[in-house]
């Protein structure tokens, strides 16, 4: 299943993001040998500080098994600021309806072989589908994706082949990198679904994700006081009651915080 995490909901999913950055460290620094910076076992770069959106694949328990990062091409992004060698010194594409996707990876240790749910192949296809459908829902028509030749082959055999490439393939340290173009259309989504046999909705709501066992277990334990406050907020029947309940929680915030620290 796919969860979208961005600046608006990341405070709800600290454990998911932590797992994601650790997965990226294992894949990009470990397996692929890219020249990336690892801090405390996590791979994070300057673009993670720019409030990107993450499309994250979760297994049934809520563990991260795949992820990819999306940025707008109108703002700073990797092709404009890091991978410009691919563009041969040419200015990058910039468009309101074009996103850039980078750091696509899948957990080959946690996942099994074959094509069924729980396999590397299924998680890969599900993440591709999630990325295409998320972009479509956001009014985006195309994605430019920075990949290596291995990923390019994976895209092709997943029914998700780039319709074209921009710039050229360049050697980046030990690996080659290139930029493919993907249209965000029903046709592409249908092809990915067809190849992987995926039916139905792939997205989880925040609430559904929070209820998954691994994510629920990692949630900070609430004090009785905080639980009471949250119940009051949830049970408010109108905006006036809700405002009062929120004010109560805000007024007690110091006690809630110090209490939960002791509890942890």
């Amino acid at each position: 299943m796919i969860l979208i995490v961005d600046a608006l909901n990341r405070h709800k999913f600290p454990m998911v993001l932590d797992q994601m950055f650790r997965l990226r460290a294992r894949v990009f620094a470990g397996r692929l040998g890219w020249d990336v910076t690892i801090t405390d076992g996590r791979e994070e770069d300057q673009f993670d500080a720019l409030d990107p959106a993450y499309v994250i694949g979760l297994d049934e328990s809520g563990n991260v098994v795949a992820c990819v990062r999306a940025l707008q091409t109108t703002g700073p992004h990797m092709l404009s600021d890091v991978f410009h060698a691919i563009l041969d010194g040419e200015p990058p594409l910039r468009s309101a309806t074009l996103w850039e996707s980078t750091r696509f990876c899948v957990d080959t240790e946690r996942l099994g072989r074959g094509r069924a749910r729980g396999s590397v192949s299924h998680a890969t296809s599900e993440l591709m589908l999630g990325a295409v459908e998320y972009a479509m829902r956001s009014g985006i028509s195309d994605v430019v994706t920075v990949i290596d030749p291995v990923m390019d082959r994976v895209l092709k055999r997943s029914g998700n082949a780039p319709y074209d490439y921009v710039g050229r393939t360049v050697q980046m340290g030990k690996v080659a990198a290139l930029a493919g173009l993907l249209d965000c259309t029903e046709e592409r989504a249908a092809r990915i679904r067809e190849v992987a046999g995926i039916k139905g909705e792939v997205f989880l709501t925040d609430e559904e994700a929070l209820a998954l066992p691994a994510i629920a277990a990692a949630a900070p334990r609430k004090s009785a006081l905080e639980t009471y406050c949250d119940e009051q907020i949830a049970e408010a029947r109108n905006d006036k009651e809700r405002t009062a309940a929120l004010r109560l929680k805000a007024a007690l915030s110091d006690r809630i915080r110090s209490h939960s620290k002791v509890g942890a």
Partner: protein
């Protein structure tokens, strides 16, 4: 997409002389064209840290909004802009800030059903275009589904023009067309269709479209014809 402008039936903002007043006219046109209640743009120039706003709200709500300092807490400005995707306001947390703004908004007849389209520019400039419309949630969702890609382009268009209306920023933001973009504009100026250009350059017509869209963005143009005109006037492309 090429005829976004004609389909949207909007005036060409970039051709109008008096920018700040014309932004308001432009937003009113967007409002009427899409049948929403209100349209608002807010953006921040990172160089001089100035905040620019243009809205279709009436004077009473604007005065009340400013008097209560809602621009400091309005989640449709502050939270929504940190997303990369359009943020339907149903996604915003119903916290104290949200309730403070929208309880008053309600009294002024303004709905909490809306969407903010965040915009990021290359120099750390950020902005957002908001559209709001009361009434049936079903109709609202259908309206969004149908028009979101147009709103995306309009949001970036408004943002680019507002930010570049500051002279120092416009200096920074001169168009940097790639040779592919120039080449495609040149063939367009010669009267070739996207399909023809794709054949000539041995690339797909979709790739031609992506480059054209990027060129339009860099030239602050909503149509390809405008982009060609501007590229010619800047000497980037020869007249066909």
């Amino acid at each position: 997409m090429g005829d976004l402008f004609d389909r949207a039936g909007l005036i060409d903002l970039a051709d109008l002389p008096d920018a700040s007043q014309d932004f308001d006219v432009f937003l009113r046109e967007i409002r009427d064209r899409f049948g929403v209640d209100h349209v608002a743009y807010a953006g921040m120039n990172p160089i001089n840290r100035s905040v620019v706003g243009h809205v279709t709200y009436d004077q009473d709500w604007r005065a009340h909004y400013a008097a209560r300092g809602f621009h400091n807490i309005d989640p449709t400005l502050h939270s929504a802009r940190r997303s990369i995707a359009p943020v339907d306001w149903s996604r915003l947390e119903r916290d104290l800030d949200f309730l403070a703004v929208f309880r008053d908004a309600h009294d002024f007849g303004i709905s909490d059903q809306g969407v903010t389209i965040p915009v990021r520019g290359p120099y750390g400039d950020i902005g957002g275009l908001s559209l709001t419309r009361g009434g049936s949630a079903h109709e609202w969702r259908a309206l969004c589904r149908e028009n979101l890609h147009l709103w995306q382009s309009l949001a970036v268009h408004v943002h680019d023009l507002v930010i570049s209306s500051d002279s120092f920023s416009s200096l920074l933001r001169g168009p940097s067309l790639s040779s592919r973009e120039r080449e495609i504009l040149q063939w367009t100026a010669e009267g070739k269709s996207q399909q023809d250009i794709g054949d000539i350059l041995a690339i797909s017509h979709r790739t031609v479209e992506v480059h054209l869209r990027s060129a339009r963005h860099k030239l602050y143009a909503l149509t390809t014809a405008q982009a060609v005109g501007r590229a010619i006037s800047m000497g980037l492309v020869y007249p066909g």
